[in-house]
Symmetry: C3
Subunit: 250 residues, 3 copies
């Protein structure tokens, strides 16, 4: 355990083996940090508010939280969380393993997020978003929830496994982004979508199968489903499963 | 008064009764913080620049400034300011009571903002914006001011009472958003608008009366004007006034 | 040299004459800060990662880095860098003189940026972007690089001298924004562009010569090329060169 002399760490926080805590970082009472995790400088973990009812912030093992990040109480992250700088995560968010959350991203709380989800920088995940596994969300995407703001109606979005939402798109309240869907950059998507399709535009329209997009790596193979060609950062057992899928489909 | 031992607070700053100042926060000379206010950790208040001519930053009573926020000298906030994390507010902005400014929002200075204005996360308020009362601005909205950037011409936008600007919309320089107007998500709006109308698209077009949007709460009543159904967080006397309006209109 | 007592500055860092370092700022080993530079509070300079191979972060003389900014090792900035608050700059970015980087902007690294480039707030510069001289980029613009995300193909954008990209536009992977081009607000631009033209819309289309846009300052002269009328903040020798261009063109 390596805690910088300027860090302010509550004695009530539970800090696992081999955890590193950087300069000027604050860890409040209701925090559990599992082993082999790095918390960089200027982070504040376990911020309390009236909504968390004393539930703990739990950070899984082997995580890396970059500097200036703020996490509230009452959220749970599986093993291998990786954040950029300056992220904010509010209360009551339940996240699976190996979540990657880009610099300046803002998770508003009350969300469910599956395994191996990746967001790039500056993504806004509204309350009551429900995100599956292996989802990708690119910079400046906003997941909304109020169909006629301001109101008391909350319709969080649902994003299914392997879906991809490209840069600066808005996902309208209550939308269902189906498995393997690709939403093009600068789109505004609402309503339901069909599996493995490409949607683009503002308002977004169905363009066709996402697999029509070809790789610009010289192979001209389909770019989607992306798991057929992009494996960086996933564990070996996941990659093997994807490879087996392809063998079985041939 | 509760000032964390790591906070750096100028002796020249005027701090009211029952003010709380968090860890690693810096308060410079030209700052007045009125009573019962909470300043969280890592904030910097009263940053000086050549434009503020020594005028003070004034934070009204009963305010709550969340962590990592930066405020310059020479702005004034009425009672009940509430910010998210990581906001930046430059000099010469005059704000009424109960302003709520979302996480990562950026007020560029030289603005006028009325009473009970609420912005959600990551809103950019350009210089010389003029915002009325009870306005709502949602995530990733940008209020611009230069009609042909870069130039020395400044045409701040005007947003009148009760107007609503939904997620990821651009308000073009010199636009006038009339009372009760609703701008749909992912729009680009310019020029003048008519009271209580809905505009949407990029470029935005007039769609019809905003009141045609119906509530998705089962009642199917009009969603706009929103003050007919949404009262959360407003003081009792304001709500009573809104209720009386409705009685008189029947 | 003025280093705040709470700043944590490595003895291995090279700090020039008359450098000011603010409260709670961290300067790591592999950092060179040239003379007459101001580093404000809560900055972290010289963050290390596996990609920088020990190369230094070099900040040119007469620079001003505002609070809460994060710079990695292995980037180089010419004289006169000016940042807003809360910027993030990753490794392996080579920048010319007098770069101005707005509040909350995020430079992802592996970029080339010329002289006198200005970005406004909250600009996202993707990896492998190649930006010329005298370029302007306005708030919430995203420069992308992956033509079919996620993938291993990287096609950074190229932006030539004097080009202007207005608010909340996406520049698609591999785009070439030619010299003097103006991209309108809320656009999505891809492919190649022609010199001095105006493009606008999503997807963006060629509208005509940018010089058709007239100044709203009463003169009705062309607003582009902007260097014919906008000189604020440029050194005298640059302005003289621009004036001579105009004399020669008449």
């Amino acid at each position: 355990m390596s805690i910088h002399s300027t860090a302010i760490v509550s004695e009530k926080a539970k800090i696992g083996e081999n955890v590193t805590i950087g300069a000027y970082t604050i860890v409040h009472d209701n925090v559990v940090i599992h082993s082999n995790t790095i918390i960089e400088s200027y982070c504040e973990l376990g911020v309390s508010n009236q909504l968390s009812q004393g539930a703990k912030l739990i950070i899984g093992a082997e995580s890396h939280i970059r500097s200036r990040s703020t996490f509230y109480e009452a959220s749970t992250f599986g093993r291998g969380l990786v954040t950029g700088h300056n992220v904010t995560v509010r209360e009551k968010t339940i996240v699976g393993v190996n979540f990657q959350l880009g610099t300046l991203s803002d998770v508003q709380g009350h969300c469910k997020i599956g395994d191996f989800v990746r967001t790039h920088s500056n993504v806004h995940i509204g309350q009551h978003s429900n995100i599956g596994n292996f989802v990708w969300i690119f910079p400046y995407v906003v997941l909304t929830n109020d169909p006629h703001p301001p109101s008391s109606v909350m319709q969080g979005v649902t994003i299914e496994d392997y879906a991809v939402i490209a840069t600066m798109s808005v996902v309208l309240p209550g939308s269902k982004i189906a498995e393997g869907v690709f939403i093009g950059a600068h789109s505004c998507i609402g309503g339901s979508t069909e599996k493995d399709m490409l949607y683009s535009g503002s308002p977004a329209k169905k363009i066709g199968l996402a697999s029509k997009i070809k790789l610009k790596d010289g192979t001209k193979k389909p770019a989607y489903p992306w798991r057929k060609h992009f494996h960086r950062g996933y564990p070996q057992e996941v990659i093997e499963q994807w490879n087996n899928e392809q063998l079985n489909n041939v």
